[in-house]
């Protein structure tokens, strides 16, 4: 049996102070080593689910296991297993790439030697070696995205959560990031990816789930789903499953 990177069982979630449940009895799993894409229209619950899986939100009922360990805000052990690349640029712009990686490396549980080694590797791989000692605030959008990604993977996590990792970057940077993510996956990192860039997603993901109104509408290997729904691409499949109406609700 393939080990699971993510295993969600009977999850219920309601935002405090609200009456309508975002998720009710939600269950699904992601196999370890896969490149999993989570897609859905605005307000479908993608960000909420991502926040629940990374421990940013807590829940009362159900279970979320990350590589076999229950996600729990107070369990630092499980947090070592995954990395997170938020959509928002999540670093200190006053610091240089090296300084950011030193700090986040330490907070990710690496020792000084590991940080040095990983910093050198990542700066080389992501093409940031020449600007390693310049404050990140002076960087272009693409360079900032690469730093955002580097921080998320510095501790070589088993599972990497990516929330719109390429938003606002040029084509070259996008390809570079996607290629790098594929490399990571080849080395065994499970990717949990969400984006509105469906072409990019089609290129990256091998397994997808379409979520709408808090429910998993479809969840399978991408090529199976395309075949089953008779669609040529992810965008057509997306519209086929979730419809063409405007979505104005908040997530």
């Amino acid at each position: 049996m393939t080990p699971l990177a993510i295993d969600i069982k009977n999850l219920d979630f309601i935002y405090p102070g609200q009456s309508a449940a975002i998720f009710s009895n939600l269950s699904f799993s992601v196999a370890a080593g896969s490149r999993f894409g989570l897609f859905g229209p605005n307000g479908a619950g993608k960000t909420t689910l991502m926040n629940l899986m990374t421990g940013l939100l807590s829940f009362e009922t159900g279970s979320i296991q990350i590589a076999g360990r229950e996600i729990n805000k107070n369990d630092n052990g499980v947090k070592k297993l995954f990395g997170f690349v938020p959509q928002e640029l999540s670093f200190y712009p006053e610091l240089t790439p090296v300084e950011n990686l030193q700090f986040f490396g330490a907070w990710s549980g690496l020792n000084s030697d590991e940080i040095k080694q990983r910093t050198a590797e990542l700066l080389q791989m992501l093409g940031l070696l020449d600007v390693r000692n310049k404050p990140v605030e002076k960087f272009s959008g693409g360079m900032k995205r690469r730093i955002n990604l580097a921080i998320g993977v510095i501790h070589q996590p088993e599972i990497l959560f990516l929330d719109e990792p390429t938003v606002g970057v040029d084509v070259q940077t996008r390809y570079a990031i996607i290629d790098y993510l594929k490399e990571l996956n080849k080395k065994g990192t499970t990717l949990i990816y969400t984006s509105h860039q469906l072409n990019e997603a089609e290129d990256l993901c091998d397994t997808i789930a379409l979520i709408d109104k808090g429910n998993i509408m479809v969840h399978d290997k991408l090529h199976h789903l395309l075949h089953m729904h008779g669609q040529r691409g992810l965008e057509e499949l997306f519209l086929d499953v979730t419809g063409k109406n405007y979505r104005n609700k908040h997530a």
Binding site: S58, K80, F84, S90, E94, L95, F103, W107
Partner: protein, 427 residues
């Protein structure tokens, strides 16, 4: 420890790259101490060293008014500016409006005559009571006689005006006493009072020796630097709330905070790091401001700050004051939802706590109803501890009673920080 060092390093790097923040934390307090000390020193010198300009319109042509003017001169408090006799009251007050002087004295036309009449009456009364022939005691003084008038500019403070009034009264009393004495002497001996006897009788007052108390027996008179530098150093320490409080809010609202929450390190470590970093900042503030007070003030025509003999005690007091200030700032940062809240509440609350703490008006001068409230201000206890060292020349053991409340208030802030983090699910 490795995580803590990395976090402190991160906080220091961010701090030193924030030029405006550095100016706010170091430049502004130094400027504040300089300006306040300079202003207060000018006021101090105005009262104690410089002479206050006093316009004198002597409309009397007799000798008594001249005696009165020389008695005022002798007080040494005033620089007399004589104005022409024919100048009207209106012209005199116009001069004051243009700030030629803040005080004006008008000696009325028949001052000498009236004084003589009053003296005669007092002398007659005294002689009659001795059983001697003193004469009529009912006549003499015209009911509509003009009094000596003192005009003062409204910018003068009440306490200062009272001290001017006291000085002028004493001059007037001196003149009256002299006349009564001369009159009495003459009535009894039918000889004029000799100058030496008059001097012996009138100017032979018992002196009052003023000695500031101190714990080390030093008799140096406290100056404005001793009062101001410690007080405004405390204010500067607590004003880190602007940088630290809003910094915590900024971090909470930023993407980096989202990432921090997903990492295998508890958030309290970030707050411990911030507290240590800013504690060093407050200690540096104290070192900087005290150094300027001690070594730079004399070059700026300001009295030098006399550092306490117990320097380790000063370091310990500064440490607890700094920790209290930093704890307060973190507390504001944890509870504030926006930077505007942190900045607005932080700044205003520090000014209020400073006012309550006695930084602006001495605590002893506050009304009774405030005497309990001021004890709730951490700045009050910090000031008490510093004054114990700087003004009373005490040692650490003399200010322990002030340090204990500082520690108590600091621990209260720490509990509030813990509660706030717990409530926000950050622990």
């Amino acid at each position: 420890m490795h995580k803590l060092i990395a976090t402190i390093l991160k906080d220091f790097r961010i701090l030193v790259r924030d030029k405006i923040g550095l100016v706010l934390m170091f430049g502004m307090p130094v400027l504040l101490v300089l300006v306040i000390t300079k202003i207060q020193n000018s006021t101090f010198e105005l009262v104690n060293k410089n002479k206050i300009e006093l316009l004198v319109a002597n409309r009397d042509s007799g000798k008594t008014s001249m005696d009165m003017i020389s008695a005022i001169k002798k007080i040494g408090m005033f620089k007399l500016i004589h104005v022409p006799n024919e100048e009207s009251d209106q012209q005199l007050t116009d001069r004051m409006h243009t700030k030629d002087a803040l005080l004006a004295l008008i000696i009325p036309e028949d001052f000498s005559v009236q004084m003589a009449a009053r003296t005669k009456k007092v002398t007659a009364g005294a002689l009659n009571s001795f059983g001697l022939e003193g004469g009529d005691t009912l006549n003499s003084i015209a009911k509509n006689a003009d009094p000596v008038t003192l005009y003062y500019h409204p910018i003068l403070e009440e306490s200062f005006r009272k001290s001017v009034q006291g000085a002028l009264h004493s001059a007037l009393q001196m003149v009256e006493s002299k006349q009564v004495l001369q009159q009495l002497y003459f009535s009894i001996t039918e000889k004029p009072l000799s100058a030496s006897m008059e001097n012996e009788l009138l100017n032979n007052q018992s002196p009052i020796l003023e000695i500031p108390i101190s714990r080390d027996g030093k008799r140096s008179i406290p100056n404005t630097s001793q009062h101001n530098v410690p007080a405004w150093t405390i204010f500067a320490m607590f004003f880190v709330v602007l940088s630290l409080g809003s910094g915590i809010v900024r971090e909470k609202l930023s993407g980096s905070f989202t990432r921090l929450r997903t990492l295998p390190t508890p958030y309290w470590l970030a707050l411990v790091s911030k507290q240590l970093t800013y504690l060093i900042v407050t200690m540096l503030q104290a070192v900087l401001i005290f150094s300027i007070g001690a070594w730079l003030f004399p070059y700026m025509n300001l009295p030098a700050l006399d550092l306490p003999a117990d320097l380790p005690g000063l370091c310990i007091v500064s440490f607890f004051c700094g920790w209290c200030a930093v704890s307060y700032a973190v507390c504001v940062g944890v509870f504030a939802e926006t930077q505007e809240q942190a900045n607005g509440f932080g700044a205003v609350s520090i000014v209020i706590l400073a006012a309550l703490g006695g930084l602006m008006v001495p605590s002893f001068a506050m009304p009774d109803s405030f005497q309990t409230i001021i004890k709730l201000s951490p700045l009050h206890w910090c000031l008490e501890a510093y004054y114990g060292l700087f003004l009373e020349r005490g040692t650490l053991q003399h200010v322990v009673t002030s340090i204990i409340p500082i520690i108590g208030i600091t621990l209260l802030f720490q509990v509030l920080i813990y509660t706030g983090l717990k409530r926000k699910n950050l622990l």
